[in-house]
Symmetry: C2
């Protein structure tokens, strides 16, 4: 069992063990979450997302270096919504990340979530709760996103940063991918490449077109994370956004919405587990060939399945 | 109501109307699916996925042009797993796609699926069933994919094509994103750019590392879709893969697995709809502030919710 007092003191070994329990969906994970929940809600949660190759890991690294200089304790979750069998960041980044992990006030952890029973957001949020309860001031959750995973990360974050690159159509295509709806801050990284200004302009133009205007003017920053350029401005925007959320009373609303989302997810998972007993699984296995042969339709089968005990 | 006979004859107006019913989750959509289901299972289904900016639309266009020359009827679903408010493909592609849509033997449709009750794969599959029942020989489903959506498309397809570009780390990063697990055919598009051969080699090396070897040797093609280079070879691989699936009796297995997946999705959706009545929604609304204040934990709340009628 987890030594809770040590967890609350920020013991890295215990934090790591606790996150493993959540990652592996061990029986004790729900119990653990219950025990740490009263201690959560203090840390500020930042989501960093964007297409592959945008430099999210390096941005995360630089922002963290910046934050620990100001005395913050930072927990990092590198969430891989995909296969665990290949590594994440490029080798150089990974080495730097490991160096960062040796810092007293930094905890780094990568999590694989593909194929998990619960969704990405539930596990990520539970792991973030562990970091929150362990006394971290700021939690950064980083994930690759184009389809659904970036929505999940936004639903677990107070501030969401979308990282893009100047490249060919990438910015436009990424907006297509709905990143527009979730970004509180835009970053065009690798801004020394051709087309950076055009990308910034394209994003700003798209932001102009939004029907629903809010009180927060979404900033678009240029960075070269590899050489730390533009990172101060990004960090500054994070704190401005935090101030905005607090002063407009939106932080509480956002966090309550996030909790509602999480509850919906837990319910769906429970419903699924309760429904699919061995008998129903067998019934499905026995009938699937008939469905394949178009003897009856999937919707009629599901109707039957609901009558079945 | 849908004029079924006209749908089965391939009337484009009726096909379009039927897909709208599915897209908008109208009440009659389930009934429609039941009626067309017996007529499905004849078309061959191809999924095309990959990161933003890889040129999936152009590849789709070129493959389609190739197929109609051989006399096939082709239905195309451009699935946008994200926001419907921005366009999809770049303007030039869209114009070419519209020209293609005028061809007698082609039906083109884009679908937005974000925020739908059912997942991406269920709606896409229902729409593909409409095309199947309308007499299309081949159905191409195209979607941007990095997180989950490419898995969804693979679960609805017989052959899955993953399109990459030679760019900086993109190929390696894309493999990280689990594309490796779902690809039956790899395409490195925009192969006139620097690094195309290196990208091909990197993919081939990764394929070598797979633990689980299968009978199908996954080909890696170079294409320049804008000028139609390499498309014949891709089309050839599609038919070779189809032959392989049929001769090894894997096509039936794959399609049955896909149906099982779809049934799981429909069940989850039904469970959710049945569970969340007005009383439970209200109960959640009334308690969310207490949860926010950490008076009790989300898991205990969900437990309560399940006792609640």
């Amino acid at each position: 069992m987890i030594e809770l007092e040590k967890l609350f003191e920020g013991n890295k070994r215990v934090i790591s063990k606790a996150i493993s329990i959540i990652e592996n969906e061990e029986d004790s994970s729900k119990d653990l979450c219950k025990k740490i929940f009263p201690r959560t809600g203090k840390a500020y949660r930042i989501g960093i997302t964007g297409p592959p190759g945008a430099g999210k890991s390096t941005i995360t690294l630089r922002i963290t270096q910046n934050l620990i200089k100001s005395g913050f304790k930072v927990g990092i979750l590198a969430v891989d919504p995909t296969s665990p069998f290949t590594g994440g960041a490029l080798l150089g980044d990974r080495v730097r990340m490991q160096e960062l992990a040796l810092e007293k006030n930094v905890f780094v952890r990568s999590m694989a979530t593909r194929g998990s029973l619960g969704g990405l957001s539930k596990k990520t949020r539970d792991a973030a709760d562990v970091l929150d309860a362990s006394g971290m001031d700021i939690i950064i959750m980083e994930t690759v996103g184009v389809g659904q995973s970036e929505l999940d990360i936004a639903k677990a974050s107070d501030t969401t940063i979308v990282v893009l690159v100047p490249e060919s159509g990438d910015s436009i295509q990424a907006m297509k991918a709905g990143l527009m709806e979730i970004a509180d801050i835009f970053v065009v990284n690798k801004a020394d490449r051709d087309g950076a200004d055009e990308a910034v302009l394209a994003i700003k133009n798209m932001l102009e077109l939004r029907v629903e205007k809010v009180g927060w003017e979404i900033p678009v920053h240029k960075t070269i994370a590899s050489t730390n350029q533009g990172i101060d401005e990004v960090v500054n925007s994070i704190f401005l956004h935090k101030d905005y959320l607090i002063s407009s009373n939106l932080l509480k609303k956002k966090r309550m919405d996030n909790l509602i989302n999480m509850i919906h997810e837990i319910v769906s998972q429970e419903l699924k587990i309760n429904f699919w007993n061995e008998e129903k699984e067998n019934y499905l296995s026995n009938k699937i060939e008939n469905i394949y042969n178009r003897e009856f339709c999937v919707y009629d089968f599901v109707k039957d399945l609901f009558k079945y005990k």
